[in-house]
Symmetry: C2
Subunit: 192 residues, 2 copies
Protein backbone atom coordinates (compact mmCIF):
# COMPACT_ATOMS: atom_id res chain seq x y z
CA UNK A 1 0.00 0.00 0.00
CA UNK A 2 2.73 2.45 0.89
CA UNK A 3 4.42 1.64 -2.41
CA UNK A 4 1.26 2.47 -4.30
CA UNK A 5 0.97 5.77 -2.46
CA UNK A 6 4.61 6.44 -3.25
CA UNK A 7 4.02 5.88 -6.95
CA UNK A 8 0.99 8.13 -6.90
CA UNK A 9 2.91 10.88 -5.15
CA UNK A 10 5.77 10.75 -7.62
CA UNK A 11 3.29 10.71 -10.49
CA UNK A 12 1.72 13.91 -9.15
CA UNK A 13 5.00 15.77 -8.79
CA UNK A 14 5.45 16.85 -12.44
CA UNK A 15 2.95 19.00 -14.35
CA UNK A 16 3.39 16.72 -17.39
CA UNK A 17 5.33 13.60 -18.36
CA UNK A 18 8.70 14.71 -19.69
CA UNK A 19 9.01 11.77 -22.11
CA UNK A 20 7.46 14.18 -24.62
CA UNK A 21 10.52 16.42 -24.18
CA UNK A 22 13.01 13.55 -24.21
CA UNK A 23 11.72 12.31 -27.55
CA UNK A 24 11.84 15.70 -29.33
CA UNK A 25 13.93 16.21 -32.43
CA UNK A 26 15.99 19.29 -31.54
CA UNK A 27 18.26 19.16 -34.56
CA UNK A 28 16.96 22.44 -36.02
CA UNK A 29 17.71 24.36 -32.79
CA UNK A 30 20.60 26.68 -32.06
CA UNK A 31 20.72 25.19 -28.57
CA UNK A 32 22.07 21.97 -30.04
CA UNK A 33 24.87 23.89 -31.77
CA UNK A 34 25.73 25.31 -28.34
CA UNK A 35 26.03 21.80 -26.95
CA UNK A 36 22.78 22.03 -25.04
CA UNK A 37 20.13 19.33 -25.10
CA UNK A 38 17.35 18.06 -22.91
CA UNK A 39 17.49 17.76 -19.97
CA UNK A 40 21.00 19.17 -19.38
CA UNK A 41 22.08 22.60 -20.62
CA UNK A 42 25.35 22.28 -18.71
CA UNK A 43 26.71 20.33 -15.76
CA UNK A 44 24.73 22.46 -13.36
CA UNK A 45 21.70 23.61 -15.35
CA UNK A 46 18.91 21.13 -15.98
CA UNK A 47 15.52 21.59 -17.66
CA UNK A 48 12.44 19.69 -16.51
CA UNK A 49 8.66 20.07 -16.17
CA UNK A 50 7.39 22.31 -13.38
CA UNK A 51 6.91 20.27 -10.22
CA UNK A 52 4.43 20.57 -7.39
CA UNK A 53 7.32 21.24 -5.02
CA UNK A 54 8.62 24.25 -7.00
CA UNK A 55 6.82 26.61 -4.68
CA UNK A 56 9.80 25.97 -2.37
CA UNK A 57 12.32 26.34 -5.22
CA UNK A 58 11.64 29.97 -6.01
CA UNK A 59 9.27 29.57 -8.95
CA UNK A 60 6.95 32.40 -7.87
CA UNK A 61 9.88 34.65 -7.02
CA UNK A 62 11.20 34.04 -10.55
CA UNK A 63 7.81 34.91 -12.07
CA UNK A 64 7.79 38.12 -10.05
CA UNK A 65 10.74 39.31 -12.15
CA UNK A 66 8.29 39.34 -15.10
CA UNK A 67 5.05 40.63 -13.62
CA UNK A 68 3.00 40.90 -10.44
CA UNK A 69 2.61 37.54 -8.72
CA UNK A 70 1.42 38.44 -5.24
CA UNK A 71 2.08 36.65 -2.02
CA UNK A 72 0.03 33.49 -1.67
CA UNK A 73 0.49 30.31 0.33
CA UNK A 74 1.80 26.94 -0.77
CA UNK A 75 -1.66 25.40 -0.46
CA UNK A 76 -3.04 27.77 -3.09
CA UNK A 77 -0.10 27.08 -5.39
CA UNK A 78 -0.61 23.33 -5.06
CA UNK A 79 -4.37 23.57 -5.64
CA UNK A 80 -3.75 25.61 -8.81
CA UNK A 81 -1.06 23.14 -9.90
CA UNK A 82 -3.47 20.24 -9.38
CA UNK A 83 -6.17 21.96 -11.44
CA UNK A 84 -3.69 22.43 -14.30
CA UNK A 85 -2.40 18.88 -14.02
CA UNK A 86 -5.99 17.60 -14.19
CA UNK A 87 -6.24 19.10 -17.71
CA UNK A 88 -3.92 16.80 -19.67
CA UNK A 89 -2.43 18.12 -22.88
CA UNK A 90 -3.06 21.78 -22.04
CA UNK A 91 -0.22 23.10 -19.83
CA UNK A 92 3.47 22.50 -20.49
CA UNK A 93 5.52 24.59 -18.08
CA UNK A 94 9.25 23.95 -18.38
CA UNK A 95 11.74 25.22 -15.80
CA UNK A 96 15.53 25.34 -15.68
CA UNK A 97 16.97 24.58 -12.27
CA UNK A 98 20.45 25.22 -10.96
CA UNK A 99 21.41 21.79 -9.66
CA UNK A 100 24.33 23.32 -7.73
CA UNK A 101 22.08 26.00 -6.28
CA UNK A 102 19.78 23.87 -4.11
CA UNK A 103 17.34 23.17 -6.97
CA UNK A 104 16.73 26.90 -7.44
CA UNK A 105 14.46 27.56 -10.43
CA UNK A 106 16.24 30.14 -12.60
CA UNK A 107 14.22 30.13 -15.84
CA UNK A 108 10.81 29.13 -17.10
CA UNK A 109 8.53 29.12 -20.14
CA UNK A 110 5.00 27.82 -20.57
CA UNK A 111 3.40 26.35 -23.65
CA UNK A 112 -0.41 26.34 -23.56
CA UNK A 113 -2.12 24.14 -26.14
CA UNK A 114 -5.56 24.86 -27.58
CA UNK A 115 -7.90 22.67 -29.60
CA UNK A 116 -9.56 24.26 -32.64
CA UNK A 117 -12.38 23.18 -34.94
CA UNK A 118 -10.76 25.08 -37.80
CA UNK A 119 -8.03 23.69 -40.09
CA UNK A 120 -9.18 20.11 -40.05
CA UNK A 121 -9.71 20.03 -36.25
CA UNK A 122 -6.27 21.31 -35.31
CA UNK A 123 -4.24 22.35 -32.31
CA UNK A 124 -2.23 25.51 -31.78
CA UNK A 125 0.10 26.66 -29.04
CA UNK A 126 0.88 29.85 -27.13
CA UNK A 127 3.97 30.98 -25.33
CA UNK A 128 3.35 32.31 -21.83
CA UNK A 129 5.62 33.51 -19.00
CA UNK A 130 9.09 33.24 -20.50
CA UNK A 131 11.42 34.62 -17.83
CA UNK A 132 15.06 34.14 -16.80
CA UNK A 133 16.50 35.06 -13.41
CA UNK A 134 18.46 38.31 -13.64
CA UNK A 135 21.51 36.58 -12.12
CA UNK A 136 21.50 34.02 -14.93
CA UNK A 137 21.44 36.26 -17.98
CA UNK A 138 23.84 35.80 -20.93
CA UNK A 139 23.69 32.00 -20.62
CA UNK A 140 21.17 31.69 -23.49
CA UNK A 141 18.55 30.39 -21.05
CA UNK A 142 15.81 32.46 -22.70
CA UNK A 143 16.77 31.18 -26.16
CA UNK A 144 16.99 27.62 -24.83
CA UNK A 145 13.53 27.74 -23.26
CA UNK A 146 11.98 29.41 -26.31
CA UNK A 147 13.44 26.84 -28.71
CA UNK A 148 12.50 23.95 -26.45
CA UNK A 149 8.83 24.88 -26.04
CA UNK A 150 8.58 25.86 -29.72
CA UNK A 151 9.84 22.42 -30.76
CA UNK A 152 7.53 20.85 -28.20
CA UNK A 153 4.59 22.66 -29.78
CA UNK A 154 5.69 21.53 -33.25
CA UNK A 155 6.20 17.99 -31.94
CA UNK A 156 2.70 17.94 -30.49
CA UNK A 157 1.38 18.55 -34.00
CA UNK A 158 0.22 22.17 -33.73
CA UNK A 159 -0.12 24.17 -36.93
CA UNK A 160 1.17 27.36 -35.30
CA UNK A 161 2.44 28.92 -32.12
CA UNK A 162 1.88 32.53 -31.11
CA UNK A 163 2.97 34.92 -28.38
CA UNK A 164 2.40 38.47 -27.32
CA UNK A 165 5.33 40.61 -26.20
CA UNK A 166 6.58 44.11 -25.59
CA UNK A 167 7.85 45.86 -28.75
CA UNK A 168 11.44 45.92 -27.43
CA UNK A 169 11.76 42.10 -27.47
CA UNK A 170 10.20 41.55 -30.90
CA UNK A 171 13.72 41.34 -32.37
CA UNK A 172 14.64 38.51 -30.01
CA UNK A 173 11.63 36.44 -31.04
CA UNK A 174 12.16 37.14 -34.74
CA UNK A 175 15.53 35.36 -34.48
CA UNK A 176 13.61 32.21 -33.57
CA UNK A 177 11.06 32.25 -36.35
CA UNK A 178 8.30 34.45 -34.89
CA UNK A 179 6.85 36.98 -37.31
CA UNK A 180 4.58 39.97 -36.93
CA UNK A 181 1.78 39.25 -39.40
CA UNK A 182 0.00 42.51 -38.61
CA UNK A 183 -2.59 41.15 -36.18
CA UNK A 184 -3.58 43.51 -33.38
CA UNK A 185 -3.54 42.32 -29.75
CA UNK A 186 -6.29 43.88 -27.62
CA UNK A 187 -6.97 43.63 -23.89
CA UNK A 188 -9.88 44.25 -21.55
CA UNK A 189 -9.00 44.33 -17.86
CA UNK A 190 -11.66 43.42 -15.30
CA UNK A 191 -9.58 43.98 -12.17
CA UNK A 192 -5.93 44.21 -11.11
CA UNK B 1 -30.48 1.21 -17.84
CA UNK B 2 -31.80 2.96 -20.92
CA UNK B 3 -32.71 5.93 -18.74
CA UNK B 4 -29.17 6.17 -17.45
CA UNK B 5 -27.81 6.05 -20.98
CA UNK B 6 -30.30 8.72 -21.95
CA UNK B 7 -29.09 10.99 -19.15
CA UNK B 8 -25.49 10.47 -20.15
CA UNK B 9 -26.25 11.23 -23.76
CA UNK B 10 -28.05 14.44 -22.94
CA UNK B 11 -25.24 15.43 -20.61
CA UNK B 12 -22.75 14.97 -23.43
CA UNK B 13 -24.65 17.11 -25.92
CA UNK B 14 -23.49 20.54 -24.74
CA UNK B 15 -19.86 21.63 -24.57
CA UNK B 16 -20.54 23.22 -21.18
CA UNK B 17 -23.43 23.67 -18.75
CA UNK B 18 -25.27 26.84 -19.72
CA UNK B 19 -26.36 27.62 -16.15
CA UNK B 20 -23.18 29.74 -16.08
CA UNK B 21 -24.69 31.86 -18.87
CA UNK B 22 -28.16 31.97 -17.35
CA UNK B 23 -26.81 33.36 -14.08
CA UNK B 24 -24.73 36.15 -15.66
CA UNK B 25 -25.35 39.78 -14.78
CA UNK B 26 -25.73 41.38 -18.22
CA UNK B 27 -26.84 44.79 -16.95
CA UNK B 28 -23.73 46.58 -18.24
CA UNK B 29 -24.25 45.28 -21.80
CA UNK B 30 -25.65 47.15 -24.78
CA UNK B 31 -27.44 43.93 -25.74
CA UNK B 32 -29.76 44.41 -22.79
CA UNK B 33 -30.62 47.91 -23.99
CA UNK B 34 -31.54 46.33 -27.32
CA UNK B 35 -33.94 43.99 -25.55
CA UNK B 36 -31.66 40.98 -25.98
CA UNK B 37 -30.83 38.59 -23.16
CA UNK B 38 -29.81 35.02 -22.72
CA UNK B 39 -30.85 32.72 -24.29
CA UNK B 40 -33.19 34.61 -26.64
CA UNK B 41 -32.02 37.51 -28.80
CA UNK B 42 -35.36 37.57 -30.59
CA UNK B 43 -38.27 35.23 -31.22
CA UNK B 44 -36.23 33.28 -33.74
CA UNK B 45 -32.62 33.72 -32.61
CA UNK B 46 -31.41 31.78 -29.59
CA UNK B 47 -27.94 31.54 -28.03
CA UNK B 48 -26.69 28.34 -26.40
CA UNK B 49 -23.49 26.33 -25.88
CA UNK B 50 -22.09 24.48 -28.87
CA UNK B 51 -23.56 21.00 -29.05
CA UNK B 52 -22.15 17.72 -30.27
CA UNK B 53 -24.83 17.65 -32.96
CA UNK B 54 -23.86 21.04 -34.43
CA UNK B 55 -21.81 19.34 -37.10
CA UNK B 56 -25.19 18.83 -38.79
CA UNK B 57 -26.32 22.40 -38.08
CA UNK B 58 -23.72 24.16 -40.20
CA UNK B 59 -21.16 25.04 -37.50
CA UNK B 60 -18.13 24.21 -39.67
CA UNK B 61 -19.64 25.94 -42.68
CA UNK B 62 -20.07 29.04 -40.49
CA UNK B 63 -16.43 28.86 -39.33
CA UNK B 64 -15.34 28.62 -42.96
CA UNK B 65 -16.60 32.19 -43.43
CA UNK B 66 -13.77 33.21 -41.05
CA UNK B 67 -10.87 30.99 -42.04
CA UNK B 68 -9.91 27.65 -43.56
CA UNK B 69 -11.76 24.78 -41.89
CA UNK B 70 -11.28 21.89 -44.31
CA UNK B 71 -13.59 19.04 -45.02
CA UNK B 72 -13.60 16.44 -42.26
CA UNK B 73 -16.13 13.83 -41.16
CA UNK B 74 -18.59 13.95 -38.30
CA UNK B 75 -16.60 11.35 -36.36
CA UNK B 76 -13.56 13.64 -36.25
CA UNK B 77 -15.71 16.58 -35.17
CA UNK B 78 -17.26 14.53 -32.36
CA UNK B 79 -13.90 13.18 -31.20
CA UNK B 80 -12.53 16.74 -31.04
CA UNK B 81 -15.67 17.93 -29.26
CA UNK B 82 -15.30 15.12 -26.70
CA UNK B 83 -11.65 16.05 -26.06
CA UNK B 84 -12.67 19.66 -25.40
CA UNK B 85 -15.59 18.65 -23.22
CA UNK B 86 -13.25 16.45 -21.17
CA UNK B 87 -11.33 19.60 -20.16
CA UNK B 88 -13.87 21.32 -17.90
CA UNK B 89 -13.55 25.06 -17.41
CA UNK B 90 -11.42 25.60 -20.53
CA UNK B 91 -13.69 25.88 -23.61
CA UNK B 92 -16.84 27.99 -23.76
CA UNK B 93 -18.13 28.04 -27.33
CA UNK B 94 -21.42 29.88 -27.69
CA UNK B 95 -23.53 29.70 -30.84
CA UNK B 96 -26.61 31.56 -32.04
CA UNK B 97 -29.10 29.39 -33.86
CA UNK B 98 -31.98 30.41 -36.07
CA UNK B 99 -34.85 28.51 -34.49
CA UNK B 100 -36.99 29.13 -37.59
CA UNK B 101 -34.19 27.97 -39.88
CA UNK B 102 -33.96 24.33 -38.91
CA UNK B 103 -31.55 24.96 -36.02
CA UNK B 104 -29.05 26.54 -38.41
CA UNK B 105 -26.05 27.95 -36.53
CA UNK B 106 -25.61 31.55 -37.69
CA UNK B 107 -23.08 32.99 -35.23
CA UNK B 108 -20.44 31.83 -32.80
CA UNK B 109 -17.76 32.99 -30.38
CA UNK B 110 -15.41 31.00 -28.18
CA UNK B 111 -13.99 31.94 -24.81
CA UNK B 112 -10.90 29.94 -23.82
CA UNK B 113 -9.90 30.15 -20.16
CA UNK B 114 -6.32 29.80 -18.92
CA UNK B 115 -4.95 29.26 -15.42
CA UNK B 116 -1.97 31.42 -14.40
CA UNK B 117 0.43 31.29 -11.45
CA UNK B 118 0.83 35.06 -11.65
CA UNK B 119 -1.49 37.61 -10.00
CA UNK B 120 -2.35 35.53 -6.98
CA UNK B 121 -2.97 32.34 -9.02
CA UNK B 122 -5.40 33.88 -11.47
CA UNK B 123 -7.38 33.03 -14.57
CA UNK B 124 -7.57 34.94 -17.85
CA UNK B 125 -9.66 34.51 -20.96
CA UNK B 126 -9.22 34.76 -24.72
CA UNK B 127 -11.68 35.39 -27.50
CA UNK B 128 -11.45 32.97 -30.41
CA UNK B 129 -13.47 32.45 -33.60
CA UNK B 130 -16.05 35.22 -33.45
CA UNK B 131 -17.99 34.94 -36.71
CA UNK B 132 -21.47 35.78 -37.94
CA UNK B 133 -23.12 34.31 -41.02
CA UNK B 134 -23.02 36.80 -43.90
CA UNK B 135 -26.80 36.48 -44.31
CA UNK B 136 -27.34 37.56 -40.70
CA UNK B 137 -25.32 40.78 -40.59
CA UNK B 138 -26.72 44.04 -39.15
CA UNK B 139 -28.61 42.16 -36.43
CA UNK B 140 -25.91 42.94 -33.80
CA UNK B 141 -25.08 39.23 -33.52
CA UNK B 142 -21.35 39.97 -33.38
CA UNK B 143 -21.84 42.55 -30.63
CA UNK B 144 -24.16 40.20 -28.78
CA UNK B 145 -21.70 37.31 -28.86
CA UNK B 146 -18.78 39.54 -27.90
CA UNK B 147 -20.59 41.04 -24.93
CA UNK B 148 -21.91 37.67 -23.81
CA UNK B 149 -18.53 35.89 -23.75
CA UNK B 150 -16.83 38.96 -22.27
CA UNK B 151 -19.33 38.98 -19.38
CA UNK B 152 -18.91 35.22 -19.05
CA UNK B 153 -15.17 35.69 -18.71
CA UNK B 154 -15.69 38.42 -16.10
CA UNK B 155 -18.24 36.24 -14.32
CA UNK B 156 -15.79 33.34 -14.19
CA UNK B 157 -13.44 35.60 -12.22
CA UNK B 158 -10.74 36.29 -14.83
CA UNK B 159 -8.60 39.39 -14.37
CA UNK B 160 -8.49 40.09 -18.12
CA UNK B 161 -9.60 38.95 -21.51
CA UNK B 162 -7.61 39.37 -24.71
CA UNK B 163 -8.03 38.83 -28.42
CA UNK B 164 -6.08 39.20 -31.61
CA UNK B 165 -7.69 40.68 -34.69
CA UNK B 166 -7.13 42.29 -38.05
CA UNK B 167 -6.43 46.05 -37.87
CA UNK B 168 -9.70 46.89 -39.65
CA UNK B 169 -11.88 45.50 -36.83
CA UNK B 170 -9.95 47.11 -33.96
CA UNK B 171 -12.54 49.90 -33.89
CA UNK B 172 -15.36 47.42 -33.37
CA UNK B 173 -13.66 45.83 -30.36
CA UNK B 174 -12.74 49.20 -28.87
CA UNK B 175 -16.47 49.98 -28.58
CA UNK B 176 -16.73 47.03 -26.20
CA UNK B 177 -13.86 47.85 -23.88
CA UNK B 178 -10.89 46.27 -25.68
CA UNK B 179 -7.76 48.41 -25.80
CA UNK B 180 -4.48 48.21 -27.68
CA UNK B 181 -1.89 48.39 -24.89
CA UNK B 182 1.01 48.22 -27.35
CA UNK B 183 1.77 44.50 -27.06
CA UNK B 184 3.01 42.84 -30.23
CA UNK B 185 1.41 39.62 -31.49
CA UNK B 186 3.86 37.26 -33.19
CA UNK B 187 3.28 33.97 -35.00
CA UNK B 188 5.34 30.99 -36.06
CA UNK B 189 3.65 28.64 -38.54
CA UNK B 190 4.68 24.99 -38.61
CA UNK B 191 2.43 23.89 -41.45
CA UNK B 192 -0.73 25.01 -43.28
Amino acid sequence: MSEIIGETDRGGEALFDDSVLRSLDLSRCKLVARGQGYPYLSDSLRARPLERGDFANGYLSLLSQLTRVGDYPREKFEAHFDRMRALPGVYYTVVVEDVDGGRRVVGTATLVMELKFIRGAATRGRLEELVVDSEYRNLHLGSYLLELVTELCRGLGAYKMTLDCKPEVEGFYSKYGYTNEGQRYLTQRFHD
